[in-house]
């Protein structure tokens, strides 16, 4: 993980004092509501339906045990003892007091954390693959690029007042877990023929009111040009992005209006002026940042290759026996444990989605426990996935069973990762003033209805995403099954879409028909699953069946049955 040096520490410390001064002047009436709103957003503070909400930055989802414990403590001291993991890998506190936020930021600064630019029309948290650095399918580690962009974008004077928010995501694995196709800038890191890492740059993807897949505008960009190229894109956006209508202000609208071709030409024109300037990265700086993202000291299986193979076999045998002895553990290993690049290790995802809990919500106790397990079993590192779950990236296989049992005890052991009940869900009408409808009760009802593990596991990968309104914070457009809350004559109704996909081969879901009332949603989902199971060949995934048979069979089952 990146370690703060004196410059970094000093910067966030000064930033805290800046915000403290702004808050004080605001409370004295020296700054207007409108002006202060802009300043507080850039320090993560929203005013929501019920209370202020503070979004803490977790850069590219990476957090260590000390930091997570600090957030648990902050949630106890300043909030109601719980936090929320967001779909952009950040952590949110739901009930802080406006006057106390400078103190919260000061406490965060003690552990090298902040809430800089987690809101407002500026460059937000750069997100990435939650399995970066440890996944068996990784080609290039995207985290150094995330850190370079984080530093570059922090308090960038020219781009702090963009037409709208700006979201960047980076992927470096075979399977895109960062959903780069639906970001303002999506970067795919891969290896060139000569073995050097190069970057493909996509722009103009996004969800919300007008969902769209990003366009490739630069292939094989060399690492040293990461900052200058992104700067060129931001400059074009800052100059020409619409400012007359906030619903038409994202870069995706500009790219579409100009066409991707014309946009690319404009960016290249600007880039040619910048590329050999001082913002071109030096080899020293690239190496310096990369040096923070190296393998930990893996003590296991260090010696001879022969010992490796034998030790691995023993571990597999032991794990196999444990799986046979405990069906839930078996499912947990199948669903929640991903392949680590190093034999004998595993990547564990801890589900924040047991039935009856708003997806992504975690208590202070759970945060402390996750920190404890990271220290006890791993190397003190934790990740937050954009599916709103915790990831422990380096768990020795021989500790999986023990970890699973502890996780179960603290309600973090749900074996549902990647399945129907691993729901991505926005806070919805219970919390958010923008929502048309409640999303959390819908998620709960579905989780209740479909809680049989074997059934869920057999269904295979199924992304169910729920948004309370068109802002799509629950990413419903890229759910295999998407649910969108709509307001129909003052009542809460839900529109169902099918066939979205967020990773490789990203696609946007198609609406299946007229919206349905809340009590019908779980029935509709059940009918969709019935069709899937009926028409499935072998162990085809839902997405594969949908793409093969189309939307009509689903439509027929849902609406013809109802009439």
């Amino acid at each position: 993980m990146y370690q703060y040096n004196n410059f970094d520490k000093n910067f966030i410390s000064e930033r805290v004092e800046q915000y403290r001064d702004q808050t004080a002047r605001y409370l004295k009436g020296e700054i207007s509501d409108e002006a202060f709103q802009q300043l507080r957003l850039r320090n993560g503070l929203y005013i929501q339906r019920l209370a202020p909400m503070l979004r803490i930055a977790v850069p590219y989802g990476a957090i260590n045990s000390e930091q997570l414990r600090a957030i648990a403590e902050i949630s106890r001291v300043y909030d109601k003892g719980y936090g929320h993991l967001s779909t952009r890998q950040n952590i949110q506190l739901n009930w802080p007091e406006l006057e106390e936020v400078p103190d919260i930021l000061a406490d965060l600064a003690e552990v090298g954390m902040h809430a800089i630019q987690t809101s407002g029309s500026c460059v937000r948290n750069v997100t990435t693959d939650q399995f970066s650095g440890v996944s068996a399918d990784e080609l290039v580690d995207g985290r150094p690029y995330c850190e370079l962009l984080r530093q570059w974008s922090t308090f960038h004077p020219e781009f702090e007042w963009l037409p709208r928010k700006f979201k960047i995501a980076i992927n470096g694995a075979k399977n895109d877990r960062a959903a780069i196709a639906v970001h303002d800038i999506g970067i795919n890191a891969k290896l060139a023929k000569n073995g050097k890492p190069v970057l493909d740059v996509y722009v103009g993807g996004g969800l919300g009111r007008t969902p769209v897949i990003g366009s490739l505008i630069k292939e094989d960009l060399e690492e040293e040009h990461l900052l200058t190229y992104v700067e060129a894109i931001l400059r074009v956006y800052n100059r020409y992005g619409r400012r007359d209508n906030k619903y038409k202000a994202r870069i995706k609208i500009l790219v579409r209006a100009m066409t991707a071709e014309a946009f690319k030409i404009k960016v290249d024109e600007e880039w040619h002026q910048l590329k050999d300037g001082p913002s071109k990265l030096t080899t020293n700086e690239i190496e310096r940042i990369k040096s923070f993202f190296v393998d930990p000291e893996y003590p296991l299986l260090e010696n001879s290759k022969k010992l490796d193979a034998y030790a691995v076999t023993l571990l597999q045998k032991e794990l196999g026996e444990q799986r046979l002895g405990n069906r839930v553990f078996n499912t947990w290993v199948a669903n929640n444990v991903a392949e680590h690049k190093r034999p004998g290790y595993a990547i564990v995802t801890l589900s924040t989605k047991p039935t009856g809990v708003p997806p992504g919500d975690v208590t202070d106790t759970q945060m402390d426990k996750v920190a404890e397990w990271a220290d006890k079993y791993g190397f003190g590192e934790i990740r937050i996935s954009h599916d709103q779950n915790f990831v422990l990236p380096d768990i020795p296989q021989q500790h999986l069973y023990e970890l699973f049992q502890e996780a179960e005890e603290f309600n973090l052991g749900q074996a549902n990762i990647g399945t129907l009940t691993d729901v991505i869900c926005c806070p919805g009408g219970d919390y958010c003033s923008l929502a048309n409808a409640k999303s959390i009760p819908v998620a709960e009802e579905i989780q209740d209805r479909f809680d049989d593990y074997d059934f869920l596991h057999d269904l295979g990968p199924l992304d169910l995403n729920i948004s309370g309104c068109m802002n799509a914070c629950g990413h419903h457009h890229v759910g295999h099954i998407g649910i969108l809350g709509v307001d129909k004559k003052g009542s809460e109704f839900y529109q169902i879409s099918l066939g979205g996909n967020q990773g490789n081969g990203a696609s946007l879901g198609a609406i299946v028909g007229p919206s349905v009332s809340r009590h019908e949603v779980a029935d509709v989902v059940e009918k969709v699953l019935d069709v899937f199971v009926d028409r499935r060949e072998g162990d085809e995934t839902f997405l594969s069946v949908y793409r093969r048979i189309g939307i009509d069979p689903f439509k027929a089952r849902i609406y013809d049955d109802a009439s």
């Binding site: 410059f7 910067f11 002006a35 300043l39 004077p157 702090e160 007042w161 001082p278």
Partner: protein, 122 residues
């Protein structure tokens, strides 16, 4: 654009001006005033940055319109060196705002070298 003084001291630019189209004329003036129609409209920042870094304008770039003290740091680092504040009393606050953060990561019009080119870091 409009002339802001009958003795033609400088020009007033709006945020939507394509400065490239008239830059040859612009840089002959001693003062360029850039209007911020709304404080959240960041286009003036890019215009100033381009004037300084691409066209080597060394005259006065003045921020006018919605110029609030907490916004002056961004303007200052983007190349503005004069600020017309709504309230004269805000001048000291604005100076404090500008001075509050003492060093920055990225290159800018005022300091084109990013921190990584200025700091000796191991």
């Amino acid at each position: 654009m409009e002339k802001i003084d009958k003795d033609i001291v400088g020009v007033l630019l709006e945020g939507d001006l394509e400065i490239e189209t008239v830059v040859g004329t612009l840089i002959s003036f001693p003062i360029l005033a850039i209007n911020f129609a709304a404080f959240a409209d960041g286009r003036g920042l890019t215009q100033a940055a381009l004037l300084r870094t691409r066209y080597n304008f060394s005259g006065e770039i003045r921020a006018v319109g919605e110029v609030l003290p907490d916004w002056t740091p961004f303007m200052y680092r983007s190349g503005f060196n004069a600020f017309e504040l709504a309230n004269e009393a805000d001048a000291e606050t604005a100076i404090n705002c500008i001075n509050r953060i003492t060093d920055h990561y990225q290159g800018s019009a005022r300091e084109p070298k990013p921190a990584f080119r200025r700091h000796t870091l191991s």
